[in-house]
Symmetry: C2
Subunit: 415 residues, 2 copies
């Protein structure tokens, strides 16, 4: 029998509805492989917490029921961080991390996250190579934005798409009760990639239904053309629902919300956006003198577990289990990716892709999937996205409310 | 066999998740009583549409499947209006309406709506009395705000409460992933009554959980005290979630959102509010220098059918059927109301109350149900609200999306 080592798993970046489902997959698969894996540690608040000695022994601290609940609990059970490792491989942090790995007998590290987390996987792998460390590192994708390269789609997107499609359908119903002219502007997440916003096309109950207009960041946004589009719709329709990405920008690359003067910068230097919906609401009110409302779906897009897609949950679990298997095959520096198996029925298989080719790049919606006028989404996207929202997250509600697992200490002082 | 008459049903005011369930109750019960009721007409866009000859023959224009879908379709199938009848009983509109009733052989009118709709029922009943008209009129309550007098609660509230409790629970999960201090402000509906905002207390997974602070319009809001409350929470907690009603006001009755200069007036002269969450976000950012986000749940609170409470749906149907029965007993000028049957298990029965005592008044949350500091909700409210959110609206999703019934013409030009 070969020697047994420990595995550590961490979650990083913005939470999603299914990032804990991937954690579930890791824990369950590691338990299956107990001939090779001794303990499963969880990094509390990602690599940043681990650096500060913040971790847990998962099988010791979580009950069987807790682990089962991970499948349907949104947000990051282990906590998250937004921590960028130095470009300089001589930075002391690298040595510190690998010393901790060694001290804890850790040979396997799975990092569940998005673009920036794959950057962490890539850098740590480079350091491991440089130092001939036996530690193997695999990334498991997670992002509602669906902007990760080299994978058909990412866990987290299907549930976000389903939430958006359902909610836009609901809002369209709500917006259609009066027989007066009205415009409703729904602002959706997506800084640079319009995947989430494009999903609003699935809300249509029939061809030609609302949302009549959909604008993604992939196409330069022109306010005058937008007003023209809305006016034209109002000629034949009473209630016009428009979906816009938070990240729509003009032909010079200036975010529309910046016109309203409302941005900040997050720890990665990404511009934090809010308010293009509100800004457009005011413009429409002013120029068209019609009843306007703007609605921002906000964080609900990434945490509404009762509206998760079962397909997404199952695939998130699969990505976690596949990641464990890859580690045991001594793969490293890779991200688990999905590819569609050609055929009539939707089916995917996992593969590994090089993390360094994933990180710091963004996959956007193909221009051909957007109509020529840049205000609607084509059939290719619908065919692509439809299978991803199928299936319900059933049985998670008790006494009218969803049941979640949480760390008892996850809101303690100074944790 | 007695002579048969026709019934007309209308929907009015803001849409809710279950106003169509009441319509379903009316249609099904009228079909049961076909010995007395010939046709069921639907007013398109409420009394205003009816005045303009806009109505439909429901059983002729809707299929059996359409009618079944009403149970789980949010918004107002028949369309809505915000139309205020004149205080002057000599106004020609009254005569016009009753002439139409007579022409269509209508003896029974059910109006599903809130406060303002009960005002319409009350006025039309007064006119019928004055003119010895045989037309009988009953109101069926509908409001997410739960502010109708003389009833234990109103259809629409349970589903709104469930949506709010679930969503606040989700947002709390989402807000708790980083180990840095943060404040999340959730702005909830409720102009003058805090019922919806109070429901956020149900989001707590355990005693002492987020949302730590809850502010209703029933208690004068003081910004300095609010900042003190938040700071105190931040001393022992990382992530503080606060729920506020859109309608919180200071001790002089000025809406907090008015400080941000962002109000308008709707057709009933009600102040249209938006933005106290955003306003408080900026204040917290400025004074406490901590990460802050504000989230406005917006219209989702009244249209999220997949999160409807089955208790609420069933009671909405019951109110509709009870209304039809009351009409056939020649009752008029009344609203269907609920009262709890005393006992351990939650159970209600219907009764009739005088519409004129309901309209133009508002039931607010009792001061005793709010803690002394005015920043939390007591056990009495929890006991009151808990049964109202029980049960799921199952089986309404197909291919990942909820199925709704809609009028094909409900977004046509000039309708």
């Amino acid at each position: 029998m070969s020697e047994k080592y420990n595995l550590v798993v961490g979650q990083s970046g913005g939470p999603t509805t299914v990032i804990n489902a991937s954690l579930y997959g890791v824990i369950v698969e590691a338990a299956e492989k107990q001939d090779s894996i001794e303990k499963v540690y969880g990094m509390i608040n990602g690599i940043e917490g681990f650096i500060n000695d913040n971790y847990m022994d998962i099988n010791k601290e979580m009950s069987y029921d807790d682990i089962e609940l991970l499948r349907s609990t949104p947000s990051s059970y282990l906590g998250s961080c937004r921590y960028k490792l130095s470009e300089d491989m001589n930075d002391a942090t690298y040595r510190l991390i690998f010393e901790k790995f060694e001290k804890l007998n850790i040979r396997y590290f799975i990092y569940i996250g998005g673009n920036d987390s794959m950057d962490t996987v890539s850098k740590l792998t480079r350091y491991a190579d440089m130092t001939n460390s036996p530690v193997r590192i695999i990334g498991v994708p997670k992002t509602i934005d669906n902007d990760l390269m080299l994978t058909d789609h990412s866990p987290g997107f299907g549930s976000a798409a389903k939430y958006v499609a359902t909610t836009v359908r609901d809002i369209v119903m709500d917006a259609s009760v009066y027989d007066t002219k009205s415009v409703t502007i729904i602002e959706l997440m997506g800084r640079h990639a319009g995947w989430i916003t494009a999903s609003s096309v699935l809300a249509r109950k029939y061809e030609g239904d609302n949302p009549y207009l959909i604008y993604l960041p992939e196409v330069a946004f022109d306010i005058d053309r937008f007003i023209k589009d809305v006016s034209k719709c109002l000629e034949t329709k009473n209630n016009v629902v428009v979906c816009v990405s938070e990240g729509i920008k003009d032909s010079e690359g200036k975010f529309i919300c910046e016109y309203a003067g409302c941005t900040g910068v997050d720890t990665f230097g990404h511009k934090m956006l809010t308010g293009c919906g509100k800004y457009l609401e005011n413009i429409v009110k002013e120029r068209l003198e019609v009843k306007v409302r703007s609605v921002e779906l906000n964080v609900n897009q990434r945490c509404k577990a009762v509206l998760a897609s079962k397909t997404d949950v199952d695939e998130a679990v699969l990505a976690g289990t596949y990641g464990v298997d890859a580690l045991l095959e001594q793969k490293t520096g890779c991200m688990v990716a999905f590819e569609r198996i050609p055929g009539k029925e939707y089916e995917i298989r996992c593969k590994l892709v090089d993390c360094s080719e994933v990180c710091n790049r963004e996959k956007v919606v193909s221009r051909e999937w957007i109509n020529e006028d840049g205000n609607d989404i084509g059939k290719e996207f619908i065919d692509y996205a439809k299978p991803l929202i199928i299936g319900e997250n059933e049985g998670i509600i008790k006494d009218g409310l969803p049941m979640y697992v949480y760390r008892k200490d996850n809101n303690a002082k100074g944790m």
